[in-house]
């Protein structure tokens, strides 16, 4: 066993080319993640042809690093431009952007970076110590449990909404869920709301929708003569690199002392959610964000920064979680690990319980690579924050057309279809209308992401129970999750009723 560990150490640390590959893929991951429309999955899929020529350890090192960096880099356009770079950043896009407009962009990104690193390291540690035990939990999840889990995820979107606007969050969520029903439903295999348009069969793809809802709508709302006079999107303090580092360091230290429970909770939530096939970094970010915001009635900026920190911890921790079922059963935890399994099979490595005995050194290498990738992200992420900060100094009348062009190219890039660009435009108008009337946009995206799977799981569970609704609560784990969902819903109702009693008094 120790031999395997030593071998892994040698494989990872002892070879200069692995270091080079990690550095290069960190830059590549940051780059792809920061472009809205290109996801972490896309980054890995584009890398696959290169992976054929690498040995397993280098290939895995590259994939782990680029995904970790892409998920963090998704926060960069979120903070600067309110366009989530990857879906994992959509949960806190509104909050992060509003903080950035108050001049907190650099600090917020510093927190996001350190928290991503913390989350990644936490996730790696859990993967190392508890991986095979946790994998047994993932085995208990049948479609019914997924139904309840998705329902809890949806409730979180309503839970994070500021008091008084819960009904608006709920309506946004329902709009997202309704949009998700467009297309060829997976459960029925019959088209709905497609009006005979073939492109609508695939449904509304949520990445163009997300770019439109957040990015284009923000451009639209800036099209007033007063807003166009401003220099950039928001004020950025002209602090040096040293101050950014010092600030990030001190924020991290204060988080480590004051928010130990929050960090641990988000890390564990991230790993647990990431581990379940079909739930990934995006849902982890929502749930952790909701858990962090819960109970804070009047929130200060500091509270918001803390909640966003928790969410970034969770989405990075979820990445490690996705590897647990992939390594133990060969069942991918998310779309990235699906590709990883393909790459491993290419290299004559079959994931599954046997991998821990036959190729222990490779497993240890994966663990080490996870730690290394997250540490490398620190300096490269800091550089990216500095470079990103320059974007917002461009005068608005030049920046806005450029953002439009980026939104168009980004939404085209995913599927190479102009229909997606049209979707983006339509969602931009909807998003503009919604945010003008105070409806939050995040829940629309969550509804779009989870709507399809939620309905699918509901119908699968009902099919399995021959149409009897009691089939939704006939397994012990399902009952537990159903109770949690019921508690969350009751909690939302209670606070909403209390608020509606207190508003007229004001």
């Amino acid at each position: 066993m120790n031999d395997a560990l030593m071998q892994a150490m040698d494989d990872v640390f002892g070879r200069p080319e692995v270091w080079l590959i990690i550095l290069a893929s960190a830059c590549y991951g940051i780059f792809v993640g920061a472009i809205p429309g290109l996801t972490a999955t896309m980054a890995v899929a584009l890398f696959v042809p290169i992976a054929y020529w690498l040995d397993p350890v280098s290939a895995i090192a590259a994939i782990v690093t680029m995904v970790a960096c892409a998920i963090f880099a998704g926060d960069l356009p979120t903070v600067f431009l309110r366009i989530p770079g990857t879906p994992a950043s959509a949960a806190y896009a509104d909050e992060a952007y509003s903080l950035a407009r108050k001049g907190e962009a650099q600090r917020l990104l510093g927190v996001a970076l350190t928290c991503s690193v913390t989350g990644g390291v936490l996730g790696a540690l859990v993967l190392m110590l508890l991986g095979s035990q946790l994998a047994k939990i993932a085995r208990w999840f049948s479609v019914t449990e997924y139904f309840w889990l998705y329902l809890i995820g949806l409730c979180c979107a309503v839970l994070v909404a500021p008091g008084g606007a819960r009904w608006k969050a709920m309506l946004s969520l329902i709009l997202g869920l309704l949009l998700a029903t467009v297309g060829l439903g997976a459960a029925h295999m019959e088209p709905r709301f497609t009006f005979g348009i073939a492109s609508l069969y695939q449904g509304i793809s949520f990445i163009p929708a997300m770019i439109g809802l957040f990015g284009l709508s923000e451009v639209f709302s800036n099209l007033s003569s007063t807003a166009l006079q401003q220099k950039g999107t928001h004020h950025i303090g002209s602090n040096s690199l040293a101050t950014t580092i010092r600030q990030a360091g001190s924020d991290w230290c204060s988080r480590m002392t004051n928010r130990k429970t929050g960090t641990t909770r988000s890390g564990l939530l991230g790993v647990l959610i990431g581990m379940l096939p079909g739930a990934g970094a995006d849902i982890a970010a929502w749930v952790a964000f909701a858990a962090a915001k819960r109970g804070t009635e009047k929130e200060t900026d500091q509270d918001l920064v803390d909640s966003i920190g928790d969410a970034t911890t969770a989405n990075s921790a979820a990445l490690a979680g996705g590897w647990i079922p992939a390594l133990v059963f060969g069942i991918p935890g998310d779309s990235v690990t699906a590709i990883v399994i393909g790459v491993l099979l290419m290299k004559n490595v079959t994931p599954g319980p046997a991998i821990f005995e036959n190729q222990a050194s490779l497993v240890y290498s994966i663990y080490l690579v996870f730690l290394l990738a997250n540490l490398v992200m620190l300096p490269i992420g800091l550089l990216a924050i500095r470079v990103g900060g320059r974007v917002v100094r461009i005068p608005k009348r030049i920046l806005l057309p450029l953002i439009v062009l980026f939104c168009i190219t980004g939404s085209y890039a995913l599927n190479g279809s102009l229909f997606d660009v049209a979707t983006m435009l339509a969602m931009g108008l909807i998003g503009y209308g919604l945010s003008r009337h105070g409806f939050p946009l995040g829940p629309v995206v969550l509804g779009l992401v989870l709507g399809g799977p939620l309905e699918e799981r509901l119908i699968q569970s009902l099919t399995a129970a021959a149409g009897n609704p009691l089939g939704l609560v006939d397994r012990p784990l399902a009952i537990v999750l159903a109770c949690i969902a019921a508690c969350v819903i009751l909690g939302i109702l209670r606070t909403s009723i209390r608020e509606s009693h207190s508003t007229p008094a004001n």
């Binding site: 993932a138 329902i174 019959e190 073939a198 059963f329 399994i341 102009l418 009902l462």
Partner: protein, 443 residues
């Protein structure tokens, strides 16, 4: 021409020369390979391997585009309706034989010019390792005796694995009501459901269950073929167990109808070279896919035969009935609409008081409606023209008009366009391999 503009003009000229490496040789620009399934799956892996080797064979980049959704409808439709200039290939899968019979899309094998068949994978039956059945005959008997329908899955309703399963039951006169097919999207989640105990039997191909099979988590009772699968040589076939039933999926490369025959023949030769190479064979072997190469003509014959066979099975009442859904397809949208009305009503009533105050600060940041309409119209124009005009021209025009609309000085606007549009194109089309539309000038 002022000295400030001159370098920019030179830059533009240089970039357009770089973009226009026109030659008489075909192909001279990137080829798009449409994969109807998502990144990471089996078809995607085969597509990417083909792309890498085809790139070396033809000397131009080959980019894989995952046009997913609709159970294969999107990708197959897009491949068939693509411009027939030979620059769009499609990785067709068995669904091409099925979608049109189910009335989901008008695309049939006749919409395509077949180029090369790559592989065939037979369906197989999997159960948990602690299941009471030891052979396919045991399972068949259990299905006959079943009092309650046995939960079964493998993929969505109407997919190839569903068809293979029902076809086997029909072939052996087992009542189809003895199995309850649960529509789960994809074989990996179905196998997960098998482990979780949600279903008792899974029907999918051997490579899809590879890891779990090697690990001993699941057992394979039989392959629906007359020869054993090289990836799992211990698994008996259906034919060895006295059941003369074969069914499986295939993958192959096709062109849309109307591609000039000289180009189609050139591509066919290149593809057969790739498919026959040592490298491709070893790739398919490690991935566990059963290599079965055929040239365009025999692939076409195979397609029309298979199409007839699938039509017969899909016409069976067992496949026709919508046995699955206990609730209608408009149940969930209807429920959502009702909840939305209730929530909206409550919200409006409770918020009537605070409404007036909000309206005041809204008027402060009112936007210029003419600008908004201008932006929307310009983007819509871009969407309408991009495919014919080409990405570079269309996006340069869009960016320039947007900048001018916001009253940026003409020279600065032109400079910005000249710098950003070509560099954006380089990043997306060259570095990231996104096939941006080409259009009039070839770029």
């Amino acid at each position: 021409m002022s000295p400030r503009v001159r370098p920019a003009v030179w830059l533009a000229v240089c970039l357009s020369v770089v973009g226009c490496r026109h030659g008489d040789q075909w192909p001279n620009r990137p080829i798009t390979l449409v994969c109807p399934w998502s990144a990471g799956g089996g078809t995607d892996r085969v597509s990417r391997q083909i792309a890498v080797q085809l790139e070396a064979e033809l000397g131009v980049p080959v980019n894989v585009v995952n046009a997913t959704g609709g159970g294969g409808v999107t990708g197959h439709t897009r491949g068939a309706t693509a411009r027939p200039d030979g620059y769009t290939l499609t990785m067709a899968t068995v669904e091409l034989n099925m979608l049109h019979w189910r009335g989901l899309c008008p695309i049939t094998p006749d919409s395509y010019r077949p180029l090369a068949m790559l592989n065939q994978d037979s369906a197989a039956i999997f159960v948990r390792s602690d299941a009471p059945w030891n052979s396919i005959l045991d399972l068949q008997q259990a299905l006959r005796d079943a009092k309650a329908p046995l939960p079964v899955s493998g993929s969505a309703i109407g997919s190839i694995w569903h068809l293979a399963f029902v076809g086997w039951l029909l072939d052996q006169d087992v009542p189809t009501g003895s199995a309850n097919w649960i529509s789960i999207n994809g074989s990996a989640p179905s196998l997960q459901e098998l482990l979780a105990g949600g279903v008792e039997v899974v029907c999918c191909s051997i490579p899809e269950a590879g890891a779990l099979l090697t690990a001993g988590e699941v057992r394979c009772l039989g392959v629906m073929s007359d020869q054993r699968c090289p990836a799992a040589p211990d698994v008996p076939t259906f034919h060895e167990q006295k059941i003369a039933w074969s069914m499986g999926g295939w993958r192959g490369l096709v062109y849309p109808r109307g591609v000039p025959e000289s180009r189609a023949r050139k591509m066919e030769t290149a593809l057969l070279n790739v498919a026959g190479s040592e490298q491709f064979a070893s790739f398919m072997e490690t991935a566990g896919f059963h290599l079965d190469v055929a040239d365009g003509a025999s692939f076409g014959e195979f397609l029309s035969q298979a199409d007839q066979a699938f039509g017969d099975i899909l016409a069976q009442p067992a496949m026709q009935q919508r046995q699955s859904a206990p609730v209608g397809r408009y149940f969930v949208p209807g429920l959502l609409a009702i909840v939305a009305t209730i929530v909206g009503g409550i919200g409006l009533v409770s918020n009537r008081g605070s409404r007036t105050t909000r309206r005041e600060d809204e008027s402060e940041s009112s936007i210029d409606v003419r600008l908004l309409i201008g932006f929307v119209v310009l983007i819509a124009l871009f969407i309408a023209c991009c495919e014919t005009v080409g990405y570079l021209t269309a996006s340069a025009a869009l960016l320039l008009s947007l900048l001018l609309m916001l009253r940026v000085r003409v020279l600065i606007a032109a400079l910005i366009v000249l710098v950003t549009v070509p560099s954006l194109y380089q990043v997306f089309a060259r570095a990231l391999g996104v096939p941006l539309p080409w259009g009039w000038f070839g770029w």
